[in-house]
């Protein structure tokens, strides 16, 4: 390989420079955005009571931290999301396996799944709160409901798109249905499972924040609602920013998982 020719070196330089340019621009946008926010608030171009400013948000952050509640709120929301997300993926996959196993059951349940998929799951929240009570349980169930149906549909489609001839191959070896599942269907669907994970990260956040709006006494969703009720937009804004950072980090975790699987492949 000619990896030391001048042309190749120039090419690598060009690729790296472009990459650096993109990252620098991304960071610049962030800095300019916050700077502009701060300046226009301080100069009263916009009303800082309505928009808050980064410095006011920082103060609120420090205040929350000093009260000792900040990490509790973050941990509660994260915990609920991760739990809802894992349960949604796990149970969804399990149900998808059952539907794959029995074509009859899949056909019978098809219209119900379609309806459940179209139904905004948040509409069920009042019922859930009645059934499981006002608390973390209800929030997790709402998050679970939002992600489970999409998981079932995505994963089942993945299962069904496995090459028929590969199934036939295993059958000529005399494989049982369970062996087809474990040797072929599940490993062949790992990429689908990972993309289901990616969708579920986002959906679980929606579910948890929704749930917290309705029932919580703690968590970031609670801070947002509470801040709104006491006209403390600083608190609302900083909670949203923490939320954005957490959602980004969680998405990154799944992306790393995906990348690791890809390199293994």
């Amino acid at each position: 390989m000619l990896n030391n020719s001048i042309e190749h070196k120039n090419y690598i330089k060009k690729v790296k420079r472009r990459k650096r340019k993109i990252i620098i621009t991304q960071i610049l946008i962030l800095i300019i955005f916050f700077a502009w926010w701060e300046i226009s608030g301080d100069l009263k171009i916009v009303d800082p009571f309505l928009t808050s400013t980064p410095s006011r948000m920082l103060k609120t952050l420090v205040k929350l931290y000093n009260q000792g509640n900040l990490f509790k709120h973050i941990l509660v929301t994260c915990g609920e999301t991760i739990l809802g997300f894992c349960l949604g993926t796990f149970l969804g996959t399990l149900i998808a396996i059952l539907l794959w196993w029995s074509d009859f059951v899949a056909k019978v349940l098809d219209p119900y799944i379609v309806v459940l998929n179209a139904l905004p799951k948040v509409a069920l929240a009042p019922i859930i709160i009645f059934w499981v009570g006002n608390g973390i349980g209800a929030i997790i169930i709402i998050a679970l409901l939002i992600s489970i149906i999409v998981t079932i549909i995505t994963v089942l489609n993945g299962f069904k798109s496995v090459d028929e001839d590969k199934i036939k191959l295993l059958k000529t070896f005399g494989a049982t249905k369970f062996q087809v599942l474990t040797h072929l269907i599940i490993p062949a669907s790992i990429p689908t499972l990972i993309s289901a994970l990616k969708i579920n990260v986002g959906l679980s956040w929606v579910g948890v924040i929704m749930g917290e709006f309705l029932v919580a006494k703690e968590g970031l969703g609670f801070l947002i609602i509470f801040g709104g009720q006491i006209s403390q937009l600083d608190m609302v804004m900083i909670s949203i920013i923490i939320l954005a950072i957490l959602a980004f980090l969680m998405y990154k975790c799944v992306a790393i998982l995906e990348k690791r699987y890809r390199t293994f492949e």
Binding site: T172, G174, L184
Partner: protein, 255 residues
Amino acid sequence: MNKVDIKNICMNYHTITSETIVLKNISFSVKEEEFLTIVGPSGCGKSTLLNIIAGLLTPSKGKIYIHENKIRTLEKNIGYMFQKDQLFEWISVWENVILGLKIQKIFTEKNKDYVISLLRHYGLWNFRNHYPKQLSGGMRQRVALIRTLATNPDVLLLDEPFSALDYQTRLKISNEVFKIIRDEKKTVIMVTHDIPEAISMSDRIIILSNRPAEIRKTEIVNFSKEYSSPLKRREAPNFRLYFNSIWKELDSNVK
């Protein structure tokens, strides 16, 4: 001695709106270590016939005997090779070739040694830890063949096994596969629409008619000793004659 007896196979396909007769009274036998090829117009039911022999489909009528033992369900002594290699991309070459042994729960030392000897003999041992993606099309098809041979099947069923390969690889691989099959003394039933491929590999060729498929003609292929491999056979003077005879038979079918 006959290895496979196919007796009066009939097959009808049912849909809500119609019933289609696909196979009509097909009977033939395959001798021990014989290479038999079935050719026919496309859509005539060649693959259906192969699936029935493999036990993947139940025929409407008729029986199939292997070793004079009646097949009731899926017999485990059948090896099936597909158009595409159907290797599992997520496991290594080694795990691919022992797949059948693991499924049948006969991954014994003896069988393991047999697979190792196959890999060594056919130049794939050094690639055992590679993933299928890292292999060329021809090598992949060889891995697929070894996976099929690993369970030591009595009969190999080849369903257009080379048609997904490019022309050059196809000639080379059909040559190699032929050699492996001869070395391992296997009985083979192959389905193809490629007449030269059929002539270059087979001992006998069965020509099917249009649907509903019946046996039109059986052509016994004979080459003198010096034309020992499929590639060499293509140069034999009587190759052309076989081609013309089969071509005419197929052509009279297409209206």
